[in-house]
């Protein structure tokens, strides 16, 4: 694959769309939990706000600063987990961590929506941490232990 197509695979149109027009950016009014997650090596900071109702993720929003990959990933993640059960969200997170390491997943079983576009990050090992930042925050927030 050429360098240009590698770049294009990283910066897919859908990723840039989430970066320019982030979904669910902002705070949750009222009762919610907030998880701060930093990437200390580069300065990216994400605050993930989650509202969990019983076993269901009712609302997921994010604030913070970061690069196109970390912010678009946060935008996609919030879209993906909203309305899912905690177990489903955590399972998707596991799938996502596999995807960015280059692992295949069962796309009939799991509907990852736009998130699938982040597959291109596998060619850029230095950027995997950007892609996973918001997902780590989500795991931390939903962790039942």
């Amino acid at each position: 694959m050429s360098m240009q197509s590698n770049l294009d695979a990283l910066y897919r149109q859908v990723i840039m769309d989430h970066y320019k027009n982030p979904r669910n950016r902002g705070e949750i009014v009222g009762d919610a939990l907030t998880v701060n997650m930093n990437n200390p090596s580069c300065g990216d900071k994400i605050q993930l706000h989650l509202k969990v109702d019983g076993d269901v993720v009712r609302d997921a929003r994010f604030t913070g600063e970061g690069c196109s990959i970390s912010l678009s990933s946060a935008s996609m993640m919030t879209e993906t987990v909203m309305g899912k059960t905690v177990d489903e969200a955590l399972e998707l997170s596991g799938i996502f961590f596999g995807i960015v390491q280059g692992e295949d997943y069962d796309d009939e079983k799991y509907d990852l929506g736009d998130v699938e576009a982040l597959q291109g990050v596998t060619k850029f090992p230095a950027r995997i941490k950007c892609a996973t930042l918001a997902w780590k925050a989500m795991e931390k927030g939903l962790d039942k232990d």
Partner: protein, 411 residues
Amino acid sequence: MINVRDVREQFPILDQEVNDHPLVYLDNAATSQKPVQVVEALEDYYRRYNSNVHRGVHTLSSVATDGYEGARDKVKTFINAAQREEIVFTRGTTTAINTVAASYGRANLQEGDEIVLTPMEHHSNLIPWQQVAKATGAALKYIPLQPDGTVSVEAARATINERTKIVAMVHVSNVLGTMNPIKEVAKIAHEHNAIMVVDGAQSTPHMSVDVQDLDCDFFAFSAHKMCGPTGIGILYGKKPLLEEMEPFEFGGEMIDEVGLYDATWKEVPHKFEGGTPIIAGAIGLSAAIDFLNDVGLDDIKTHEQQLAQYAMDQLSAHDDIEVYGPPANERAGIVTFNIHDVHPHDTATVLDMKGVAIRAGHHCARPLMNWLDVAATARASFYLYNTEADVDAFVDALVSTKEYFGDVYAE
């Protein structure tokens, strides 16, 4: 003037392609490349005379000891220290400053005392002082920066007072390239009976340093940024200060007498070099100093400033690229910048695809990022082997980055 073609022949690593483009290495402030002389010195030590130093009676041990202690003499001359005992080998700049903070700082600071820093310090010259302040009750004070990211002597004079016990300042900023007025500030510190600690990690590789002329009390730097190996650095300290300090690490090599319940220490510098010392590192550093002296530090400084000037002239033609810090003639060969609306990570990724290695992030200087009011920046940093062609490739890659992100935004 530097013959860059000859210099580059000593750095085989530069002769390679990265992502189908010739490597343009502009991350020298993070670490420099190593010339063959240094690689061969390390290889020679491990192939021919690897041995532990100081305590061996056998022949290889004394050859290794000569190499290790010879490196100390070489460093002494390189920074013009008054005595060889003032040169302590450490793991790097960070360990050197931690030694001063933990040993001198904890013994000499108490509540009511002040440690004076600047907001441009690298974390290595910031966190150790935060910790010693917490432990002793001393307060941290900051010399406010000028709008162009420089430290004025007047601002230093206004911040340092009779409560000041330690002034700790970076010689050259790893972000802005600012060259700080160490000599003048050291004079002010001494007028108030404070000591002057200097982080020389970004100055020593790029300009001649004279610690006696600067009249600083402690000076720290790392070998790996000056063509030497990783894992070794220097703590220079005035001998009376080093002598009054307690060791930072305890164990073998640094002791004089040992009983079951107590021990005494060797003389300086050895009491600060517990454990088997960094023998190969010192020998590699010695070769790096020879190499830099052959090229000439004054020429290296001029060469890098010319490259910085050349780069800044080209970048100034782009309204959407912001360069931080003072003008090129007042800075070392470090150019920190951002492209509007493109995150520096994204810039660095596109540049890497063009074979251009730069740094993106906060550069271990979070307070300075806050001062600049940015989350992160991109940084190109030059060294003696860089060329105007490298700068051209860098600027071309930036133009590609702008076009690429302009396009993806437009889609």
